[in-house]
C-alpha cells in the first residue's frame, strides 16, 4: 500500500496566493481583482508586487465579474478572488452572461468553500457551488486537494484559455502532494491501487480518503484511490477503468450530494458501466457554526464516513 507523507498542514488558499505570486512574475497578462478580501485570499503579495495589475473593487462582486470580463478584451487574464459563496451564487447571472456565454477568459478563484470555513456558519459555507458552476456550458471546474496542488492548479489555469472555477478552502490541512508538480486539467490522479472498492475524492476529502484507506486496509479491504481535482471536464476513463476492477465506488466531496462530483460520476457510470455507488457528501442541507473537524464529523464528511460508505458499497456488489 502506497503511503503519503503530510509535509505539514497548510491552507489551500495560501497555495492559491503562492501560485498567483508566481504568475505575477511569469505572465504579464495576469491581472487580479478582489472584493475586499485580500488577506483572506492571500493576494497581498501580488498586490504589493504589481499594484498596476491589481484591482480592489470593494464589496461589489457583480461589478468585479463584469470588470474581469471586460479586462479580457485587450488580452488580460483576470483572476477574481472572494469567498466561494460570493464567487458563485451571488453573481451567477454575471458569470453566466458576461463570462461563460461570452466565452471570456476569466478565472474565478473561490476560497472558504464548504463546511470547513467553520465558525462563520451557513451564510458563508456554500455547498452548492460545484453544481452551479459545472452546469455552465464551457466552464472548467477545479477543486484541488492541498496547498501544493492548489498552487500548481493556479499556475496551470493561466495557460488554459476559457473560463475556470477554482475552488479552495480556509483551514490548514495535510499537504501531501509533490511540490512543483505539473498540473494537468482534466486528468485524474491515481493515488493508490486497490481491488475491493474505488474511492473517488476531491478537495479536502482526498486526504480523508487516504486515511480511510489505511483503516480499511486494517480490516482487510483494499481501496483504490483516485484524486479528481477536475470535476469538469471529468476524467471518465479513469473512473470506468477503476470500477471495472473494483466493481463498486464511493465518491467523497465537501459539497451537497445534489449537483456535486458524485452526481457527475453517477452520470458517467450509469451510461457506461452501472456500478453500486455510495455518496460521501452533505445531504441537501445548509451548514452551521462549529470547528471544521466538528462539522466534518457531524455532516459525515471525514475518513470514518468514507470507511462506512465503502463497507456499504462493497455489500451492494
Amino acid at each position: 500500500m502506497k503511503t503519503y507523507e503530510n509535509q505539514g498542514n497548510k491552507d489551500t488558499r495560501s497555495g492559491f496566493g503562492a501560485g498567483l505570486t508566481e504568475l505575477g512574475k511569469t505572465n504579464e497578462n495576469v491581472v487580479a481583482l478582489c472584493a475586499d478580501l485580500i488577506g483572506s485570499l492571500k493576494m497581498d503579495d501580488f498586490k504589493k508586487n504589481h499594484p498596476e495589475r491589481f484591482f480592489q473593487v470593494g464589496i461589489a462582486e457583480a461589478n468585479m465579474i463584469g470588470l474581469a470580463a471586460g479586462l479580457t478584451i485587450g488580452g488580460k487574464i483576470p483572476f477574481t478572488g472572494t469567498f466561494a459563496n460570493f464567487s458563485t451564487g451571488r453573481v451567477y447571472d454575471q458569470i453566466r452572461q458576461s463570462v461563460a456565454y461570452s466565452d471570456k477568459n476569466v478565472k474565478i478563484c473561490a476560497s472558504h468553500a464548504g463546511l470547513t470555513l467553520g465558525e462563520d456558519g451557513a451564510t458563508h459555507q456554500i455547498l452548492e457551488d460545484i453544481g452551479l458552476m459545472k452546469m455552465l456550458p464551457g466552464m472548467t471546474v477545479i477543486n484541488p486537494c492541498d496547498y501544493n496542488q492548489t498552487k500548481a492548479a493556479t499556475i496551470a489555469i493561466a495557460e488554459h484559455h476559457g473560463p475556470v472555477y477554482l475552488r479552495f478552502g480556509r483551514p490548514k490541512v495535510a499537504n501531501f502532494t509533490p511540490e512543483n508538480q505539473k498540473f494537468e486539467i482534466g486528468k485524474a490522479l491515481h493515488l493508490q491501487d486497490g481491488n475491493d472498492v474505488t474511492i473517488v475524492a476531491t478537495g479536502h476529502l482526498v486526504w480523508e480518503a487516504l486515511e480511510a484507506a489505511k483503516a480499511l486496509n486494517e480490516k482487510g479491504i483494499s481501496a483504490e484511490i483516485i484524486n479528481i481535482h477536475t470535476i469538469k471536464p471529468l476524467d471518465a476513463k479513469a473512473i470506468i477503468d477503476s470500477v471495472s476492477k473494483t466493481k463498486c465506488i464511493v465518491t467523497a466531496e465537501e459539497h451537497n450530494h445534489l449537483g456535486g462530483l458524485g452526481e457527475s460520476v453517477a452520470r458517467v457510470l450509469s451510461q457506461h458501466k452501472p456500478t453500486p455507488q455510495e455518496f460521501v457528501a452533505t445531504n441537501d442541507t445548509f451548514g452551521e457554526s462549529g470547528t471544521p473537524a466538528q462539522l466534518m464529523e457531524k455532516y459525515g464528511l471525514n475518513s470514518d464516513a468514507i470507511v462506512k460508505a465503502c463497507e456499504k458499497a462493497i455489500k451492494r456488489k
Partner: protein, 281 residues
C-alpha cells in the same frame, strides 16, 4: 467626414431595417431601437475611431458595448451597414442557426460584438474592465457604452458607477438612453429614478446632456464635448434624451412598442414614413 444629410440617410435606412427585421419574425424590440438609431449611426460613422476588420481585443481603436441588449435590431443594422458583416444577414435575425440572436452574443462569432448582453445591468462593468485593459495596454482610445434608463434600476450599475469614479476611469463615455419608458410603463410610474444627472454627478462623474437625442448634429456636438472631457480624471456620462419609437409616428412617445412587432399594415405605414435610401437588404 459624413454630412448631416448622409447620416440622416443612413438613419432612415436603419429604421427600415429595424422594422423589417422585427416584422419578419414577429418579435424583437423596435421602440428603443428606433429611439437610438441616430445615436448608433453617428457613433459608428463619425464618432468612433475604429478599424474596418474586427478583432476582439480592439487594441488601437475605440470600443463600444451595448448593455441594453434588447435593442439588438439597431445594433445589427448599424454594424452591418458599417461593414462588419453582410447586410443580407439581417434577414436571419432571430431565426434558428443565426449569428443574429435575439440578444447580442459573442457565442456565434458575429463580428462587431464583444460581449453578450440581454440580462440587464452588466454592460457598465464590462465596459469599465475594457477601459482598464486599455490603460494597461497603453492604448489611448476610448470605450463607449450604451444603457437604458430603466436599466439603471439594476444595482450592479451603481457598483460600477461608484468604481469608475473612485478609480478615475476617465477613458469611458457611458451614454444613457433617457427615453423615460420601460416595459411596464414610464420609468416614473414603474420605479421613479429622480434626477439621473444628479445621481451620476453625486457619484463623481462628469455629465453631458444631449437634449435632442434624435438630432444627429446635436449628438455630434454633445459627443465631441464628451470626448474632449476624457482623460481628465473623471468618467463621462452622456444623458441622451430620445423619443422611443422615433421616426414611425404611431410608435413614438409610448412604451407600447418596447417589445412588440408591427403587423403587415403597420409595417407598410412605417416604411412609407421612411423611404429607402441605401437600399433594403
Amino acid at each position: 467626414m459624413a454630412t448631416t444629410q448622409q447620416l440622416e440617410n443612413i438613419t432612415t435606412q436603419v429604421r427600415r431595417d429595424i422594422l423589417r427585421m422585427v416584422h419578419k419574425v414577429n418579435s424583437g424590440h423596435p421602440g428603443g431601437s428606433l429611439g437610438c438609431a441616430e445615436f448608433f449611426v453617428t457613433l459608428y460613422n463619425e464618432i468612433m475611431d475604429r478599424k474596418d476588420d474586427f478583432d476582439m481585443d480592439g487594441i488601437g481603436e475605440d470600443l463600444f458595448f451595448l448593455s441594453n441588449g434588447h435593442i439588438s435590431p439597431v445594433y445589427y443594422s448599424v454594424l452591418a451597414r458599417a461593414g462588419y458583416f453582410p447586410v443580407e444577414e439581417l434577414n436571419t435575425f432571430r431565426i434558428i442557426n443565426t449569428r443574429l440572436q435575439g440578444h447580442p452574443t459573442t457565442h456565434e462569432g458575429l463580428p462587431g460584438v464583444r460581449i453578450a448582453s440581454g440580462s440587464l445591468g452588466q454592460g457598465m462593468s464590462v465596459a469599465l474592465g475594457a477601459a482598464q485593459a486599455k490603460k494597461l495596454n497603453g492604448c489611448n482610445h476610448i470605450v463607449y457604452s450604451l444603457h437604458g434608463d430603466g436599466e439603471l434600476q439594476e444595482g450592479q450599475n451603481w457598483e460600477a458607477i461608484m468604481y469608475a469614479a473612485g478609480n478615475k476611469v476617465d477613458n469611458i463615455i457611458a451614454t444613457v438612453d433617457l427615453n423615460g419608458q420601460q416595459i411596464d410603463g414610464s420609468t416614473d410610474t414603474v420605479l421613479p429614478m429622480g434626477s439621473v444627472k444628479g445621481k451620476f454627478e453625486a457619484f463623481g462623474w462628469t455629465v453631458i446632456e444631449i437634449e435632442e437625442g434624435n438630432n444627429v448634429d446635436a449628438i455630434l456636438k454633445g459627443m465631441a464635448e464628451a470626448k474632449a472631457l476624457t482623460g481628465k480624471g473623471k468618467p463621462i456620462c452622456v444623458l441622451l434624451k430620445t423619443v422611443m419609437g422615433n421616426g414611425v409616428d404611431f410608435m413614438m412617445h409610448t412604451h407600447a412598442w418596447h417589445g412588440k412587432a408591427p403587423n403587415d399594415e403597420q409595417l407598410a405605414i412605417g416604411l412609407a414614413q421612411n423611404t429607402e435610401t441605401l437600399g433594403d437588404y
